[in-house]
Amino acid sequence: MSGEKNKVRLAVFKLTSCSGCQQQIIDLGDQLLALLDRIEIAYFLEASSDAKPGPYDVALVEGSVSTPHEEELVKKIRENSRIVVSVGSCATYGGIQALRNWMDFEEVKKAVYEKPELIEALEKSRPVSDFIDVDYAIGGCPANKLQLLSVLKQVLIGRRVYQRGEGLCQECKRKGNVCVVVAKGQPCLGPITREGCGALCPSYGRGCYGCFGPMVDPQPGALARRFEDLGLSREEAALRIRSITSWSEPVRRFLEKYER
């Protein structure tokens, strides 16, 4: 990779995460090779030890901000990059590790570590957008590689990135899945979750657990009410909704009310 004039300089950063979203980039396979005609991978530790300094045109950020070090890092990323994209539900909503945000942090530390006093972590795991302006956000645990590719393609032609943001149910129905709520009485987060995964869970006969995060204008209250109709206790309904993207704004705001 040399002589990279006119190419878009891409950097991939990892914060607190499982690396699964970065995997999606590598998983693009042939499409990744095609992208390399237009993109220079300037910084991507998982794929290349050749880490080039900024500035970058596009920074993809995986992972939530959960340590003081990461707080600094995202600020540097912002300064160094023209477009910042938060990739995946960790970066966009705080991730699964934000489940601890609902608990007492001292207890949490004690439960896992013998010397909790040595732990260097912020009390809460938070989305990147809590610290810096993010140009585009893609949810998903992991982010969907085709969605990621679509964002890159849109960035490459220099257009404003568009995501429909509508509910998973629409995608589910278009795909022709059988609704698990209606046909099996199973709770499903599809009605409040953002489309993008291909309505995977329902197509495997199970309810969605919300890994793509909330859709635009979600109605978690109406859904919780429905879960109760299906026989879940209030506590169980809350537990369902308090899932991988529990720290996203709308879900958090709802749960704070509902659980009181």
Binding site: I26, L45, S48, S49, A111, P142, I244
Partner: protein, 432 residues
């Protein structure tokens, strides 16, 4: 080495390991006297927030510990819960689990040996640089890896954090014809798998040889992946539930990263090298013949050869998927149901990087009361440090930059998937 007697090699950002880590090597009077492998992975507290969740959620939630080998977590959590509930996934479910799990081995191994590790041996930065001379290698690697991902995707919906699996089996019945796409180009993929192995066998791999303790599951009739007894090359053998009795956890003096060792205090290696050496006889004959033609047989004697074990297992995994698809018959139910009951159990599966241990206790409502998860990288941690001490001489004889590379390569032998080191956090360096 420019006459320096005491110096430090510090690699702050270990590239091409999944996650970010660092190594601290201290040299005093021409001898390495202290090594620390630093892994700056922020703690994610899985074991804490698992408490209170429903047992059925364990596979999906723990999968998120690692985006490279999520299925291993799904499998270990499912199996542990099944043991608690007293059920077993059906034979057909297990075939599907293995098809996907082998897919994950392929995905993870190829990512590691082709994308991350091979460049080390050829003095390159990335596979893309290798591709300039060996375009076929990149093509094979991408195609084989894609195929492995396809296997996971078909059975589980997507390669990373698949959704199709559950305690008791799978969420839905996978139709026989859904697996067909994997067979369509099977011959080609098999050829590529073989070619990748041959390529790896041709790499200039450093020859050093020393004593190592290996530990892995041991298969009875099949190469171990989903289950088995734990065994090591010191002659010990024990059931998975006794794991915590046979290993000790220690906290290093100045860090709180957990180190796992055998009772005797000896570090051990888990992962492809261990599996290979302990289960060689169970590898597919096609794999063995490629190896033996190149003059390789167990035991592989140094950790640099782990890349061989990975390539061999990749080829083996391809062949196994082919065989399992051939044997698969659609079952009439997708999963075993069970009455919820309180209990505790452990399960070990072979993640691409080695043994992954899960233990859970649940109450009568199926709520998780306690979870302990020991990922393979945590187990290899002590071995990594010892390894660097052992190849120390080699390191000292090299010029500074090369030495630094060698340290990195040595770490990379373990394919430390750092994000799954749930117990590891950023270390502090304290001068003595």
């Amino acid at each position: 080495m420019s006459g320096e007697k005491s110096f430090e090699i510090k690699v702050d950002q270990l590239a091409r390991v999944e996650g970010e880590g660092g190594v601290w090597v201290k040299v005093r009077d021409g001898r390495i006297d202290y090594v620390e492998v630093n892994i700056f992975e922020p703690p994610r507290f899985f074991e804490a927030f698992l408490k209170g969740r429903i047992y059925l959620e364990a596979p999906d939630l723990t999968a998120r510990i690692c985006g490279i080998c999520p299925l291993a977590y799904v499998m270990a959590a499912s199996r542990a819960m099944e043991k608690i509930l007293g059920i077993e996934a059906s034979e057909e479910s297990n075939k599907l689990r293995k098809i996907a799990f082998y897919g994950e081995w392929i995905e993870s191994h190829v990512l590691h040996f082709a994308f991350l590790h091979a460049p080390d041996f050829l003095g390159k930065h990335s596979i893309f640089e290798i591709a300039e001379e060996h375009p076929q290698f990149l093509r094979d690697a991408i195609a084989v890896r894609d195929w492995g991902n396809r296997a996971i995707e078909i059975v589980g919906g997507r390669p990373v954090h698949p959704v199709g699996f559950r305690v008791g089996g799978l969420h839905r019945i996978i139709k026989r014809r859904e697996l067909d796409p994997l067979l369509k180009n099977f011959d080609e993929i098999e050829k590529m798998g073989r070619r990748l192995l041959e390529f790896v066998l041709s790499l200039p791999i450093p020859e050093v040889s020393y004593d190592m303790a290996f530990m892995s599951l041991k298969g009875e009739r099949e190469y171990p992946i989903l289950e088995g007894v734990v065994s090591n090359n010191l002659g010990e053998e024990f059931p998975e539930d006794d794991f915590e009795k046979h290993v000790i956890v220690e906290q290093k003096r100045y860090s709180n990263a957990l180190h796992y060792r055998l009772r005797s205090g000896k570090p051990y290696i888990t992962g492809p090298l261990a599996r290979f050496n302990l289960n060689y006889g169970l590898l597919a004959p096609e794999v063995k013949s490629v190896l033996e033609e190149s003059g390789f047989k167990p035991p592989l004697k140094n950790t640099y050869q782990s890349i061989i074990a990975r390539a061999a297992e990749t080829y083996h995994a391809i062949l196994e998927i082919g065989r399992l698809i051939g044997e698969y018959r659609e079952p009439d139910k997708a999963y075993e149901e069970a009455e919820v009951r309180a209990g505790e159990a452990a399960a070990i599966v072979e993640a691409p990087r080695g043994m992954l241990y899960h233990r859970y206790r649940i109450d009568g409502d199926g709520r998780i009361l306690y979870a302990n998860i020991v990922p393979p990288t945590a187990q290899n941690y002590a071995a990594m440090e010892e390894d660097i001490l052992k190849v120390g001489d080699l390191i000292l004889r090299k010029p500074r930059e090369e030495a630094q590379k060698l340290v990195e390569t040595t770490i990379r032998n373990y394919d430390p998937c750092i994000s799954c080191s749930v117990h590891m956090i950023r270390l502090r360096i304290i001068e003595e």
